[in-house]
Amino acid sequence: MSDMKFSKDHEYVRMEGDVAVVGITNFAQKQLGDIVFVELPETGRTLAKGDEAAVVDSVKAAAEVYAPIGGEVVEVNGELNKNPALVNEDAEGGAWFFKLKVANMDELAELMDAGAYTAFAEGTA
């Protein structure tokens, strides 16, 4: 997991070449509780860093998922529409939300590494 980067809004980014795999963190999943619905962005949409990209509904709350980094949506994880519970089971693995073709690699540097994120999340809890 050391190759992952994290945002303050509890999204993670895992780089696969110049494509960023984006999802919500395990911490976020735990805070939200049982997730019942995920709304994903349209493929082809261009997102700026911080744009609202997806929505997660849990039994407790609805939360927006923001693009932690700018780019074009090249793929979404359709599996989440059928089985939103996957986010609870495997948030940082199989339950990724969407993949972005990153526009500006420099934005990656603005995100936290795993150590900084863990400290940040613990402060939030």
């Binding site: 049982d34 019942v36 619905f37 509904d57 039994v59 407790k60 709350a61 939103p84 519970a85 809890a125």
Partner: protein
């Protein structure tokens, strides 16, 4: 909690229920759906066979059976009465739902609302024949303007969120009249969810901003967020954490300096009636939940009603209809052309609003008087602080132990490491005979529990609630997980599977769509 005390509790009645032949437990009748009571092939009433008149629906007549169950009057009556008996209501016990002001609904209000001159009239009657009703609306409007210090009021909005739409539409109309286009509305993170929803519905971009450490909004945060593109701010006072926004006058000034308007969410007006006039705080418009602040809460007798009061600046844009006095008579102004110098933004409802609620609210005001309403606010605040004082050593408050207004907010840090959640605690409260408080709202407090006792509760009732909450908190901290995880044990239904209900919703009844595993539960 000692083991001895546990043993004194009643044995599990659920075990007995499972063993009865009918599924009923004593006179707690298991309630089927109406579709399961009646049958589609029978009729509850005997009607003569229709004559063979040619249908005149032009081919649009129904081709198949409508499929509604036939029910006799006693069947329908018993179904709804039994459902109502499973319900919990303010007339049954303490109902400490935060942000909802579940106060007692005086019977006098009901008597007044049933007077035929108010109950049996129709909105399309000639105005000359409903002068009494119009006079009542005019008097209610006067009282609302007087106690808020505002210039005018729109009575027609049907509840809080509708009132927000009314107020924010007036703000938009005011900007349009000046020929300016503004696109942003400021909403603090502790706001009711309806606030950003209202702004978004009107096409505004919502800009959220956090509160400071003590749970209130700072004027500096507002100043920083303000710009020439901000149409207005939506703020609740007292806020959803039960705290009075002490910078509110400076916040209003900061908003007005930039040419924006101040919408106040009046859901918590019960804390300040007769103490503070919103108009004096620089507020431009505010909805008032007649069905909270002036009795008749949810399930207390009627629908919602959310009149909106307007400052001088916004009054010209208030919607039609409104009541105007002309000498001894009253007139309902129905169209913009007839509104004189005003330029109403339009109409929100087909007619004038919730007449029954106007009657109940005015009955409440007249029977309490100015001094009585002020005392009600004082007692509501006193009761909330009494609960706070009785619970603060065992439960945790997100912004420290400070005096609150009409509701007290706790978070779940006192449950840390107990493996028990706010949700579990709320369910255990049901077993103890109380409706749970508001949970998980406001979102700014982790695992929030928002408790609003209102002025209706006696000191004895508050002591009873405190004793139960203390017992639950101690039980949780003592590791009695089963008491919480299994709760509610004594309600007509045990814990519902909210996750499956949301993931696989069954929204329409169809013959046979009750699943086998549900039927067995």
């Amino acid at each position: 909690m000692s083991g001895e005390a546990r043993d004194k509790r009643a044995p599990e009645p659920m075990a007995r229920i499972e063993r009865t032949f009918s599924g009923n437990a004593g006179l707690q009748i298991e309630e089927p759906l109406l579709f399961e009571v009646g049958r589609t092939e029978i009729s509850g009433v005997d009607l003569p066979e229709p004559s063979n008149d040619k249908p005149r629906f032009g081919g649009l007549e129904r081709q198949g059976e409508i499929g509604l169950p036939g029910l006799t009057e006693p069947e329908a009556m018993r179904h709804y009465v039994r459902l109502s008996q499973k319900n919990y209501a303010i007339d049954m016990g303490t109902y400490p739902l935060g942000s909802c002001t579940m106060k007692h609904n005086p019977r006098l209000n009901e008597k007044m609302a049933r007077l035929p001159g108010f109950a049996d009239i129709h909105p399309l009657q000639p105005q000359s024949s409903v002068q009494g009703a119009l006079e009542l609306m005019a008097m209610l409007a006067d009282w609302l303007c007087e106690m808020t210090g505002m210039a005018s009021v729109a009575l027609s909005p049907k509840a809080g969120a509708h009132g927000e739409l009314c107020g924010m539409t007036a703000i938009r109309a005011a900007h349009e009249a000046k020929g300016v286009k503004r696109s942003v509305v400021l909403v603090p993170e502790s706001a009711h969810g309806t606030n950003p929803a209202t702004a978004a519905l009107l096409g505004y971009d919502v800009k959220a901003f956090p509160a400071r450490e003590d749970g209130t909004v700072s004027v500096d945060a507002v100043r920083e967020a303000m710009s020439d593109d901000v149409a207005g701010i939506m703020l609740t006072n007292p806020n959803t954490c039960g705290l009075f926004e002490r910078d509110i006058v400076e916040i209003a000034e900061a908003v007005h300096e930039k040419g924006a308007y101040f919408y106040c969410d009046g859901a918590n007006f019960n804390a300040i009636v007769g103490k503070v006039r919103p108009g004096d705080l620089g507020i431009d418009c505010m909805h008032i939940n007649l069905h909270k602040t002036f009795s008749t809460p949810h399930g207390g007798g009627g629908p919602g009603s959310g009149p909106v009061v307007f400052s001088k600046a916004l009054a010209p844009f208030a919607p039609v209809p409104f009541v105007e006095r002309q000498g001894d008579a009253c007139r309902l102004v129905e169209t913009g052309e007839a509104a004189g110098d005003a330029t109403p933004f339009g109409r929100l409802t087909a007619f004038h609003g919730q007449m029954g609620m106007f009657v109940r609210a005015l009955a409440y005001m007249l029977s309490h008087g100015a001094d009585g309403m002020r005392q009600a606010s004082e007692d509501a605040v006193l009761n909330a602080n009494y609960l706070r004082a009785g619970l603060s050593d065992l439960m945790s408050q997100p912004f420290g132990d400070q005096p609150c207004m009409h509701e007290v907010l706790f978070d779940d840090s006192f449950l840390k490491d107990t493996d028990i959640t706010t949700h579990d605690l709320a369910k255990a409260l049901i077993d103890e005979g109380y409706h749970p408080m508001t949970v998980y709202f406001p979102l700014v407090a982790h695992g929030a529990m928002l408790i609003e006792p209102t002025e209706s509760e006696s000191r004895a009732a508050l002591d009873g609630f405190i004793a139960v909450m203390r017992d639950l908190a101690q039980s949780a901290q003592g590791g009695d997980v089963a008491r919480f995880r299994d709760a509610p044990r004594y309600a007509p239904r045990r814990r519902l599977d909210e996750t499956r209900a949301a993931r696989e919703p069954v929204l329409r009844w169809r013959d046979g769509n009750v699943r086998q595993d549900d039927a067995a539960e």
